[in-house]
Symmetry: C2
């Protein structure tokens, strides 16, 4: 299994400034990753941000003398509500943009950022470029289900996905599920509105035909409906960035509403008191689980370099988990396998006739 043993010497660029909890949490995450061996003796984590501040935090976290850390100064910070174009045009000196520069130049193998998703997707795509065979990146979320987790992609990078983009999402998501969830042959489902032939429209039908034509190159189980997503129907749910993003955010909104309803129920009826109090931790846990990046981070797949998005509100554990997922993906040679899988998929795409 030479593929799964990690070659030494990876470089991780950590954007330390974008998170809601500030750089102290990012530097603490780096310290955790070093202590736990996620950052090995030959690896380097490059802390990107206000260097003076980061050095002080590294002292506090007792990693200032570690040979595994480096610093890269960045003068500005991307704010949560900065428009993507503003960041790209006017914040070239931000920690996010400088971390992406390191990835582009090969000085880093992976970028981990808690920054503004829209800016990260747009700047990442422009700076790092799609990998050979892909046209658009896809953001891949890991979500909980009854037993374990599944991957859903795209959850927001490419809202107007064409059939070939959906096929790319299927192969990229399948390989990511192997490294992130440890599933050898992930079952891939295509999200649609009905499993009858002809339901869901021309875009879904064409995607379905191509995925069927791929045969054993992918473990494609066919169309799945919204109802199947939280069941055990498949391990990778393929959809466009519009539908995926709306699902993700709707679910987050629903979980907040549930918490409020439990709270109100408790107030309205003493019978619910014990129940409500006992259920709060469950709902809190669930709310956390349902945020995609709480399971480490959501990678932007299909680019020449690996970018891991961690949630803006991530604490040190969540950021450390994003670092770990990024290291695992690198260690599994995901990039090389994605290139090969995209080439195979593109051969099938061009040889599958478009039905009228």
């Amino acid at each position: 299994m030479s593929e799964t043993s990690r070659p030494s010497g990876y470089k991780i660029a950590l954007d330390c400034m974008g998170g809601d909890l500030g750089p102290s949490e990012a530097v603490a995450a780096a310290a955790l990753a070093i202590r736990d061996g996620v950052i090995g003796p030959d690896d380097t984590i490059i802390l990107v941000g206000h260097e003076d501040n980061l050095r002080l935090l590294a002292v506090e976290n007792r990693i200032i003398k570690s040979k595994r850390i480096e610093f890269k100064n960045a003068a500005s910070i991307v704010q949560p509500d900065d428009a993507a174009m503003t960041v790209i045009k006017s914040k070239r000196d931000s920690s996010m943009m400088i971390a992406l520069d390191l990835l582009k130049s090969g000085e880093a193998d992976v970028v981990v950022s808690t920054g503004n998703t829209k800016a990260l997707v747009a700047a990442g795509t422009i700076k790092v470029r799609p990998m050979e065979g892909a046209e658009r990146p896809a953001l891949a979320a890991i979500m909980p289900r009854r037993e374990g987790h599944f991957v859903m992609l795209d959850v927001g990078a490419n809202p107007e996905a064409k059939p070939e983009h959906l096929v790319h999402n299927a192969v990229l998501g399948s390989i990511y599920a192997q490294s992130a969830l440890g599933i050898a042959q992930p079952r891939v489902g295509l999200l649609t509105v009905g499993t009858e032939e002809g339901k869901g429209g021309a875009r879904i039908n064409r995607t379905h035909s191509i995925l069927k034509a791929m045969g054993e190159k992918i473990n494609y189980i066919g169309p799945v409906e919204g109802f199947d997503v939280f069941g055990d129907a498949c391990d990778v749910v393929v959809t466009d960035g519009f539908t995926g993003n709306v699902i993700l955010k709707t679910i987050e909104g629903l979980v907040y509403m549930l918490r409020d309803m439990v709270g109100q129920k408790v107030k309205s009826n003493p019978v619910y008191l014990a129940g409500g109090i006992a259920m709060f931790p469950l709902l809190r846990e669930l709310k956390g689980k349902l945020k995609p990046e709480q399971y480490g981070g959501a990678p932007l797949l299909g680019l020449s370099g690996l970018i891991m998005k961690a949630h803006g509100s991530s604490n040190r554990q969540s950021i450390a988990s994003a670092i770990r997922l990024g290291m695992e993906a690198l260690g599994h040679g995901a990039n090389r396998r994605m290139l090969a899988a995209l080439a195979e998929a593109n051969t099938v795409i061009s040889s599958t006739p478009v039905e009228e």
Copy 2:
């Protein structure tokens, strides 16, 4: 308020055979609707199905002598897994198709059916035809939020909606929210993936431009994200039938999963025992609330005749509620107002330039 006082003499065709609970529940619903005055002295409810059986059930429910009921025999039944084309081509003698015939011929003003959604949408569209100014119908679900309810449409009739269809959904949904939720000026939001200009793609941008150009003809509040859906951002959530259907079913799947998780939590830890037991009714209530048709029924808007879809598992109260919602929509003159609103919308659509 002549518009809200119901003119007498409506005819309701009730498809009695499509529900999971069988015709006994449908006939009991008719009896409830008569007893509660939803079916007034001059109205008629036409029970469609196996006439002999329906007459026996009418005797049991003590409505056999009511002047408000009629019977229409239908030899076959649409099954839950019947393909739409099979129903249209080979089940013309089914209770669903015969009920739709009554609507088409003007012998009924509204059809209420618990049958297979896909067949009802397809057969309804073909038989009853879109109303003047509309091209495609939209299924409108009523869903719970923190306070009260909101309308979401389309939840499954037209998966590949164009901008003009989305604009039609906005005006139809707005008028339906007036009669169903009693909101005078419903706030209408367009579901998308980001509220920045340019996010969500060309289809959403064009829809947004048209809705803005409609000015005071509609209370359009702008784009909304998935996160806003269960908040208090708007009363009508406009989306295409693909996204809407996937959201609806995903939420239903999530609520089932939550119930299972609470069950498991209770087993795993005695602290949760009281909580779990106390919370079951809440989750059951919520699961019910989140099924669109539990709030009476989901109308198929944009057709020349009114069709109300009730959930396949509806009990007598749910079916009676669907009958009531249908009667209220008729009484509010929704059809006439929808025709006028569609004409206005189409004027704005044709005068709003397509941006490049």
